[in-house]
């Protein structure tokens, strides 16, 4: 029996409409992918290096936005400055930015003039008078606990050193995450009910339950706090509290402000396109700052793998800082 022949003209418009619908759906999926269980898909490895500083430089006072040309010129200028610096450390030779740091090879700056977007002057708000007094007292009493990530207060004890030098936390992984010298990478993993932020430094996995489960009983405090997340449309909103007093309310590699005990940190993650994640953070700590402040920066998708950051296992630096200080103590004693 011969198959029936169908009339081509009846099918054609239906086929066109169908194809268009398929293409439109696929296009939408690429820009706003979803996990199989229906959450926005933020997974991947994201690089958040940028030359743009945390606070607005004086030369851009009053300007919130640069043009693209100005941004790339700025990046070039800062990159050139970075690679011509040579830190000469005794006989060990120069410390090359090109080899070791992201300033050496990733020449990008944002069109924002500062990472801080609120307050609108792009500056950190002042400390409260009470926090300023506490900071003075803390310093006068020797500066312990040392809340800086790097740079310590001496070399008498391991507790004199920065928490990143002790391999307890990363240099600028906060939270919030901010560009530092290197390892400016975060990998996002999702499973039903969870988002994991794997900070490359210090192989810290911040596990964020997407639910309203109560915080652990006993008001437990942890180095990386206690996080809960929820979705607002396509944006992941993470709220973290219950930090210890061993970290600052806000810290970059080289400075630390306040103590994190009363910090509420809000972070937002939203995929702005296939290769960019928009990251926004709000530091809300009325015990340290006169008002909350917000920063924003994009994270760029990378195909590179996160490598193991076995900081403590290879921490010759801390051993050598302390043992060389003891050697200096001994020669000073012998000279007397």
């Amino acid at each position: 029996m011969c198959p029936q022949r169908y009339r081509v003209t009846a099918w054609l418009p239906l086929l066109l409409v169908f194809s268009f619908a398929v293409v439109a759906t696929v296009a939408q999926d690429v820009a706003k992918p979803r996990t199989p269980w229906g959450d926005p898909d933020l997974q991947g490895t994201w690089d958040y290096w940028t030359f743009t500083p945390l606070e607005r430089p004086a030369e851009f006072a009053g300007r919130e936005v640069l043009t693209k040309e100005e941004a790339s010129q700025l990046a070039e200028k800062l990159h050139k400055g970075a690679v011509t610096e040579r830190f000469v450390a005794g006989d060990t030779g120069a410390y090359s930015q090109e080899v070791w740091t992201d300033r050496g090879d990733k020449v990008t700056a944002l069109t924002q003039t500062s990472i801080i977007i609120d307050p609108r002057d792009g500056k950190l708000p002042p400390m409260t008078p009470d926090a300023a007094k506490k900071a003075e007292a803390h310093k006068a009493a020797g500066g312990h606990p040392v809340r800086n990530r790097s740079n310590g207060v001496g070399t008498d004890d391991p507790e004199d050193r920065g928490v990143a030098e002790r391999c307890l936390l990363g240099f600028s992984t906060g939270p919030p995450m901010l560009p530092g010298g290197y390892n400016n990478n975060v990998q996002i993993i999702q499973s039903p009910g969870y988002v994991v932020l794997l900070l490359e430094m210090n192989h810290d996995a911040r596990i964020i339950p997407i639910d309203k489960s109560p915080r652990a009983q006993g008001n437990l405090r942890q180095w990386l706090g206690d996080s809960r997340g929820h979705w607002e449309g396509d944006t992941l909103v993470v709220r973290t509290t219950n930090f210890t007093d061993k970290t600052a309310s806000f810290a970059l590699t080289a400075f630390a402000v306040g103590s994190a005990e009363h910090l509420t940190l809000i972070e937002r993650f939203k995929r702005s396109d296939a290769n960019t994640l928009q990251y926004e953070f709000t530091v809300d700590d009325p015990s340290t700052f006169t008002r909350p402040f917000t920063g924003r920066l994009p994270m760029n998708r990378t195909d590179n793998l996160i490598y193991e950051y076995a900081c403590h296992e290879g921490n010759y630096g801390l051993t050598n800082m302390l043992s060389s200080a003891r050697a200096q103590d001994r020669s000073a004693a012998e000279r007397k």
Binding site: M1, T35, P36, W37, Q43, T155, D156, D157, P158, E159, R166, C167, L168, Q187, I189, Q190, S191, P192, Y194, V196, L198, N202, H203, D204, A205, I207, P209, S213, P214, A216, L220, Q222, W223, L224, L305, I306, Y307, E308, A310, H312, E313, L318, T319, L322, S323, A325, R326, D329
Partner: protein, 290 residues
């Protein structure tokens, strides 16, 4: 077309379906057979998501063993007693017994390597990487006495261990040879039916398999198998191959138990801070008495 060819096709399809269903019900011999079919993730894979923990004493000694006074021993007048450094711990420092997790209970060391195991045991306090809060490696991370959490999405599998905050990416697409050695190795995963098979390579030679000095070289390769055997259990198998240390491959097997505590979560065990007195105490300007 006549009716007969259609009937033949339908018969063949039914027969194939019947055979498939029958195979699914009857366990296949030789695989440590399980009849359990795990719930599926939304992308159709056996669901390993959740909190898991080994409940055995493999971390003390992967082989069968009776209880003993301590890991670090010295000669007493009538037999071994705890070493001076640990005697104050009393029973807290004692070693519980274990049925052993090694198939046939034999770890096939090359003769010259068996001597190194003994050296490790005799110098346990100085040599066991666990004491210094170093990353535990694989498979030891699995049976540390701490929970771990498996995260499984359509594109990746990730394991976060409470112990020392150790982490592992299980790449479901092979990224090629590991570019550098690491403590936790590089893991590449694939599905074989109900089982997640993970090939781990690119290890350094720094980790141990337990506190009893069982060790490996950087040539180590581990093949893990994770198979759900019930709503709250995984059968975990790990085959160890290291031609520099062992005469052949050997295998460990154990159940993993789901942690069903209310509002279960991993807590921090950032032991790096806890071992500072051990590692850097002698380098203080004013060392504490030891």
């Amino acid at each position: 077309m006549g009716k007969r060819p259609i009937r033949r096709v339908m018969f063949a399809v039914s027969a194939a379906a019947a055979v498939t269903m029958y195979s699914a019900i009857v366990p296949v011999a030789g695989q440590g057979a399980t009849t359990y079919r795990a719930p599926r993730t939304k992308d159709g894979r056996p669901d390993l998501n959740g909190f898991w923990q080994a409940v055995n004493t493999a971390n003390y000694d992967v082989q069968a063993h009776v209880a003993r006074p301590a890991m670090a021993l010295r000669a007493g007048p009538y037999g071994p007693v705890p070493a001076a450094q640990v005697v104050a711990l009393g029973a807290v420092g004692s070693v519980p017994a274990g049925l052993g997790v090694v198939e046939s209970n034999e770890i096939p060391y090359k003769p010259e390597m068996a001597a190194k195991k003994k050296e490790n045991q005799d110098n346990w306090l100085e040599r066991d990487p666990e004491i210094k809060c170093y990353l535990p490696g694989v498979p030891r991370a699995t049976y540390m006495p701490f929970p771990f959490q498996i995260f499984q999405s359509q594109s990746q599998v990730f394991i976060a261990y409470e112990y020392a905050g150790a982490v592992r990416n299980i790449y479901m697409k092979d990224p090629g040879e590991a570019p550098v050695d690491s403590w936790m190795g590089q893991s590449v995963g694939r599905w074989e039916g109900e089982t997640l098979v993970v090939d781990v390579s690119g290890f350094n030679d720094q980790t141990w398999f337990d506190r009893s000095g069982n060790f490996h070289s950087e040539a180590l390769k581990v093949t893990e198998r994770y198979t759900r055997t019930g709503p709250d259990h995984i059968r975990y198998e790990a085959t160890i191959e290291d031609p520099k240390v062992f005469t052949r491959a050997w295998k460990i097997t154990m159940p993993l138990y789901r942690r069903i505590d209310t509002n279960m979560r991993l807590l921090e065990f950032k032991c790096v801070e806890f071992v500072e007195e051990l590692l850097y105490g002698p380098l203080r300007k004013r060392p504490l008495p030891r």
